[in-house]
């Protein structure tokens, strides 16, 4: 317990001081994006990893959050930062509806329904031009020139998200979530209102994903339906972050987010310009291979299988 606290303190200090150690805005940007993925991945993990409801449509909540922030600027003419709060709430509203429809279904059917939901909302956002400006997108002016405010805001959001899930999973609700994942019928027969707790899990998950979306709007200053409702780059990426890091672990999605952003940028930039150019064209291939590798050999992700990884790396035998 003690050494865990020390690790957390070191980690905290490292992240608090990071922008002063590394002044390069390029690395700061990468870490900001990675922290944003920590939030999205963790929120997915709460619903999928802990509650067992594998969502293929987290872009719904991310996108709704982003659009809430954007529409605040274009239609209400108030700061997009309000979106950080209300984007989360808007995502929760949508989540209520998504839950109402999709929680009638289980397993793969739930996954498919969320996937269809994200495609539907993307097409609505594309075609409802009077509200969203369609594919013209929403463009705002960034509030800060420096990266520091963005960094600390997203760091705070990520820390809050991880801590909230940590607390949640230690509470009674957390046990309900896991019992639903393990055996929904058994949970039901024990008197747990599974629909209620699945919805609670979904709502909290949607709130954080929506906040991350609102942050994206503020930070990137440009969104369009194909970017924020992307099946491939948001919904599937959220899943990959979760499984690579480790589902149903508190720190898994956080590790996964840094690994995925790191791998993508390393390959995209051809090992920061050291390796031959063609490597950069392989970044998507490496992504795919990484997924296959993780599922085959580290089914519980980097964090979940850390003991196993350590054994392989250090060449020691498992102690009985």
């Amino acid at each position: 317990m003690k050494s865990k606290n020390i690790t957390l303190i070191i980690l905290g200090i490292f992240f608090l001081l990071f922008p002063f150690i590394i002044k390069s805005e390029y690395y700061q940007h990468l870490v900001i994006i990675a922290l944003m993925w920590v939030v999205i991945g963790s929120s997915w993990n709460l619903l999928a990893g802990y509650t067992g409801q594998v969502s293929f449509g987290h872009a719904i909540f991310f996108g709704v959050g982003a659009y809430t922030a954007g529409i605040f600027v274009t239609k209400l003419e108030i700061s997009a930062w309000w979106g950080m709060l209300f984007g989360g709430f808007a995502a929760m509203l949508i989540a209520l509806f998504v839950g109402w429809v999709c929680f009638r279904l289980r397993g793969p059917y739930f996954a498919l329904a969320t996937l269809a939901g994200s495609e539907i909302i993307r097409l609505v956002a594309t075609n409802w031009e009077s509200l969203t400006d369609g594919m013209v997108g929403i463009l705002i002016i960034q509030s800060f020139r420096s990266k520091l405010p963005y960094y600390y805001i997203v760091l705070g959001l990520a820390a809050a998200c991880i801590y909230a899930i940590h607390l949640l999973m230690k509470s009674k609700w957390g046990y309900y979530f896991v019992s639903i994942r393990e055996d929904q019928d058994a949970a039901e027969s024990l008197g747990i209102n599974t629909t209620l707790y699945k919805n609670i899990s979904l709502l909290i998950s949607a709130f954080f994903a929506g906040s991350a979306g609102a942050f994206y709007m503020n930070y990137m200053a440009f969104i369009d339906p194909h970017v924020v409702f992307s099946l491939h780059y948001i919904s599937i990426m959220a899943i990959l972050v979760g499984i690579v890091g480790g589902v149903a672990t508190i720190m898994g999605p956080a590790v996964g987010a840094f690994v995925m952003v790191g791998v993508q940028e390393t390959f995209r930039s051809a090992f920061f310009g050291v390796a031959p150019r063609w490597i950069s064209e392989a970044h998507a291939l490496v992504f795919g291979l990484l997924v296959i590798f993780v599922i085959m050999f580290m089914a519980n992700g980097i964090v979940g299988d850390w003991g196993k990884i350590k054994r392989v790396l250090l060449g020691t035998r498992p102690s009985a």
Binding site: Y26, N127, G134, V227, Y233, F272, A284
Partner: protein, 399 residues
């Protein structure tokens, strides 16, 4: 678990420090180029990259800039704004480029332009066309290509002077470029007094356009105007042929209709179609034809206006670096704003007009597919072949 975190943090910081420490000798002038080299826009990014490379070879072959060679750091934005942003941050802080060029899709270009303006890094855009990019009063952002709303200017001239339509239908893909071009074309139609019978957006990549084309056939417009990328364009024309749609003219709003792949895929259905374009090799600009021939000989494929934009941008960059007092950002910006030169793409001069700042006033032209070749037909004084009109479509299609 704790060790894992510690190790990750350590490795991460080591990696950052190592990456930070590398520096390069200053014997070249580095210019960053942002283009989509993977993803679904890679096709156009590739043409532009080859054109940049070709121009660079020529410029450096002639001795470069004041004895120094230019080095283009071409980076892949994968067509996504947040990646584009990573790229430009890297170019500015790690590669220490003196200016940035490229910019293909409008959304990525916008994200990149925002970062450039904030860092006071001169950015010469050569393709990203959404009007609003140069409407932000950003003084470090310059654009070589015209804004999307001006792409159809010469088509509108041709409509008014030759085709004289009464009714128009507009089909466009749902993308920033497609939607905004269609909107501005609709506006100019209303101004000219043509009735817009139908305006429909569609998701790129569909198989079957027949439902909407059947409606078009029923409405029987004088002009069918389409803003589509290359393969959608080919499918729409093939299916129009199948349905025997018979307007006075089919018109493409740049983008896909000028690419060789359009003709290869649509075959007979591409014949006599006209399209707006920003460039054609027969234009009387010095180097236009040379560029076209050289590209074809070197890479064994055709080039078109996107490539010409990139090729010209490289020459503008060289010209600017030659004239600038120093490699400081504000000096380069000043040199950019004083640009007044001729390129293979046409004259380049950045001025403020309408709501836009630092926007080059490039012209647009009309091309027509005649006997399987893309020929320039408008404006009249520059035309290589006479505009074929009226067209008996059923006969062209061999019915």
């Amino acid at each position: 678990m704790k060790k894992l975190i510690l190790v990750t943090v350590l490795l991460f910081s080591l990696g950052l420090l190592a990456g930070h420490g590398i520096s390069f000798a200053e014997d070249t002038i580095k210019v960053g180029i942002v283009l989509p080299l993977t993803g679904d826009q890679a096709k156009f990014g590739e043409i532009e990259k080859l054109s940049f490379d070709m121009a660079l070879e020529e410029i450096n072959g002639k001795g470069g800039i004041k004895g120094k060679k230019i080095e283009l750091v071409i980076e892949d934005d994968t067509g996504r704004p947040e990646v584009g942003r990573s790229v430009v941050e890297k170019l500015i802080t790690k590669d220490k480029v003196v200016m940035i060029g490229g910019g293909y899709s409008s959304s990525v270009t916008y994200a990149v332009a925002g970062v450039c303006q904030q860092n006071q890094m001169p950015f010469l855009i050569n393709t990203g066309a959404a009007d609003k990019i140069t409407e932000q009063k950003w003084d470090y952002i310059f654009r070589l290509n015209p804004p999307a709303s001006k792409y159809s200017a010469s088509v509108e001239e041709l409509l008014a002077e030759v085709i004289k339509p009464k009714t128009v239908t507009i089909l466009h893909e749902n993308s920033l470029f497609g939607t905004s071009s269609a909107k501005s074309f609709e506006k100019s139609c209303e101004k000219a007094g043509y009735k817009v019978l139908l305006k429909q957006g569609y998701e790129a990549g569909g198989i079957d356009f027949k439902p909407v084309l059947t409606q078009v056939k029923q409405l029987n417009p004088d002009v069918v105007y389409m803003v589509s990328y290359v393969m959608d364009a080919a499918l729409i024309m093939k299916q129009s042929k199948e349905l025997k749609i018979n307007p006075k003219m089919f018109i493409g709003g740049a983008a896909g209709f000028t690419l060789p792949e359009f003709q290869q895929n649509a075959g007979a259905a591409s014949e006599k179609i006209i399209s707006a374009t920003l460039w054609h090799q027969v234009l009387p600009f010095p180097g236009a034809m040379d560029y076209y021939n050289k590209f074809k000989a070197k890479f064994n494929k055709e080039t078109e206006y996107h490539g010409a934009e990139a090729y010209a941008a490289a020459y503008v960059i060289a010209d600017v670096l030659n004239r600038t007092k120093s490699l400081k950002n504000e000096d380069i910006k000043k040199a950019l704003s004083e640009t007044d030169m001729m390129t293979a793409f046409g004259p380049v001069k950045f001025t403020n007009w309408d709501k836009m700042t630092n926007q080059n006033k490039a012209s647009s032209y009309v091309v027509q597919w005649i006997d399987g070749k893309l020929e320039m037909v408008w404006p009249k004084n520059l035309a290589a072949k006479p505009f074929v009109f009226p067209v008996n479509w059923l006969k062209v299609w061999g019915y």
